[in-house]
């Protein structure tokens, strides 16, 4: 009468479906909540003005600008570094080399280090060691680079996102047929000519994928920039590499924890979170579009 296996099967199917529903519901609630509360305050003025009246009024333009500048600087730093690392490991180093093994292990571990540790590392290494060193060497010890600044925050963020770029690039390099390399060599290419004219053009899509992941991670992280360059409030936008800057994620953190008037800050907070999400999505979307374009251009090669 009762088929035991069928009942057990039915229960598990139900539980699995329920798990899916829970996840979708959570995403819907988070996005919906932010959308409903955040849209109130969202206006052109909110996007283009600076915070006013102790963050209970005005807009968040400096934080948007700062986040954007941070991500751009980070990308400029992380792409060459990550791509060069991957190219070395995959194209230059001998197979089964100890060195590559160690580098790969280091990168895997780097990917597992908590973001706050990167922040502290940036403070200790970039600001205290490199920044102070530059100041002592070129500015007679006056404080120029030995303090939190957008360049140090961007470099710290680049370290955090480097494993993503390295892994994505390596994967792209691995996908390129070995025969292309042989053909290039057989036509008289040096190793660098082979890499620059055959391998890298083919790997652009994969490299951009790594860039996309790095950018979307970098635009959302707060911990790495807390000690290395993000500021509580600044009346002016960063104009030099050693200026401090405002950042959306950090701005959210500051408004949540340090606001003099929680109720007055709340709508601004919601809208800021909404903007942060939209900016991340926008950056992602742009990068995906660029990649699709390049893929289309390269299609005939595949």
């Amino acid at each position: 009468m009762f088929d035991k296996t069928r009942i057990t099967g039915g229960i598990f199917q139900g539980l699995a479906a329920l798990a899916c529903v829970v996840i979708v519901a959570m995403v819907a609630i988070i996005l919906g909540n932010i959308l409903i509360h955040g849209l109130d305050r969202l206006s052109i003025g909110f996007l283009t003005r600076a915070p006013e009246a102790g963050m209970t009024g005005g807009g968040i333009f400096p934080a948007i600008f700062g986040t954007f500048a941070l991500v751009v600087l980070m990308t400029i730093a992380v792409i060459p570094l990550g791509v060069a690392t991957a190219v070395y490991m995959h194209e230059y180093a001998p197979k089964r080399s100890r060195m590559v093994h160690v580098v790969r292990l280091a990168i895997q571990n780097l990917a597992g280090v908590p973001a706050i540790v990167f922040g502290l590392f940036g403070l200790g290494f970039f600001i205290e060691f490199i920044g102070r060193g530059v100041d002592r060497a070129f500015f007679r010890g006056s404080l120029v680079y030995g303090q939190p600044a957008i360049i140090w925050a961007a470099l710290t963020m680049a370290l955090l996102t480097m494993p993503t770029v390295v892994v994505a690039t390596e994967e792209a390099l691995r996908a390129i047929p070995q025969s292309y390399r042989e053909v290039a060599y057989s036509l008289g290419a040096t190793r660098w000519q082979m890499i620059s004219r055959v391998v890298l053009p083919q790997a652009v899509g994969g490299i951009l994928t790594g860039g996309i992941l790095a950018v979307s991670r970098g635009s959302g992280e707060v911990a790495p920039v807390m000690f290395t360059g993000a500021a509580y409030f600044l009346p002016e936008l960063p104009r030099r590499l050693n200026d401090q800057f405002m950042e959306l994620g950090y701005h959210v953190y500051v408004m949540t924890t340090q606001s003099p008037d929680v109720e007055a800050t709340k709508p601004i907070l919601y809208s800021t979170v909404l903007v942060l999400l939209m900016l991340t999505f926008l950056l992602n979307f742009t990068a995906v579009m660029i990649r699709a374009q390049i893929r289309k251009r390269l299609r005939y090669g595949r």
Binding site: Y180, E182, V183, A184, G188, R197
Partner: protein, 265 residues
């Protein structure tokens, strides 16, 4: 190793015309000996075919002639490889230059992911300052490879849009653009239709006067109809090398006779 008296006579007659020559070439990968002392030569004006069953070392031999073999890891090459009398493994040798002079056509057509024209000029563009005459050289090479009429109006199209047989002729033309001294072909027609195969064999006959051609083939009939001399390799050894007509009618070694009559391999 069987010394070949007819070859010795020939090379004595034409002096040092052997364009590419190996002397006691030995190749080892790990502990396995792939080539066990090969002494062989190819001259301008002839097609030398190399036949033999799988694992005989035919492809490895070709890869030693333009220093492609060393791209594989853990390979040890001993003995001499001379190109026009000069060792290509000597110190200070420009490997890229050697590879331009000793061109390769692989067994599978491998067009680079570029247009037909970019494929053809790839080798030229690697050298600086040789761009001026490239259009002319492209046309000459395409005509020599019997491909010009088929692609002259679509040079800017992706090379991948060509058929397999056309792609292989493109690869041949791509090697010829560099005006090599020696042309190595590793089973160039193994996957091709009869028409493309015939076109490539015809092209080789036309090219013969200007360069030495070494053709590795699994197709014994192709060796018989397309080459002037034939070398038979077996398990890394050169069993014999003779004028093609002679090797196929009166082989000296019974193993050669067995192989060409299809008893093994």
């Amino acid at each position: 190793m069987v010394a070949d008296p007819s070859v010795a006579e020939d090379s004595a007659a034409v002096g040092d015309a052997a364009l590419v020559r190996t002397e006691d070439l030995r190749v080892r990968a790990d502990r396995l000996e792939i080539l066990k002392g090969i002494s062989l030569e190819a001259r301008r004006g002839e097609i030398l075919s190399i036949i033999g069953p799988a694992g005989a070392g035919k492809s490895t031999y070709l890869r030693c002639l333009n220093r492609m073999a060393e791209l594989d890891q853990d390979i040890k090459i001993e003995g001499k490889v001379l190109l026009g009398g000069e060792s290509i493994y000597g110190s200070g040798v420009d490997v890229a230059l050697i590879r331009r002079q000793v061109a390769t056509v692989f067994s599978v057509p491998i067009p680079l992911p570029m247009t037909i024209h970019e494929n053809l000029t790839f080798g030229l563009r690697l050298q600086s300052g040789s761009r001026d005459s490239s259009e002319e050289r492209v046309e000459v090479a395409l005509r020599a490879a019997y491909l010009w009429d088929e692609v002259k109006d679509r040079l800017r199209e992706p090379a991948r849009t060509l058929s397999g047989g056309q792609q292989q002729r493109l690869c041949l033309a791509r090697s010829l653009v560099l005006s090599p001294k020696v042309l190595l072909l590793d089973e160039p027609t193994s996957g091709l239709d009869p028409i493309s195969t015939a076109a490539i064999e015809e092209a080789l006959q036309q090219l013969k006067p200007n360069l030495a051609i070494i053709l590795v083939t699994n197709n014994v009939k192709q060796a018989a109809r397309a080459s002037d001399r034939t070398a038979f390799f077996l398990f890394g050894e050169l069993i014999e090398c003779e004028r093609t007509g002679k090797l196929f009618t009166t082989p000296r070694d019974s193993r050669t006779a067995d192989y060409i009559s299809g008893r093994f391999g």
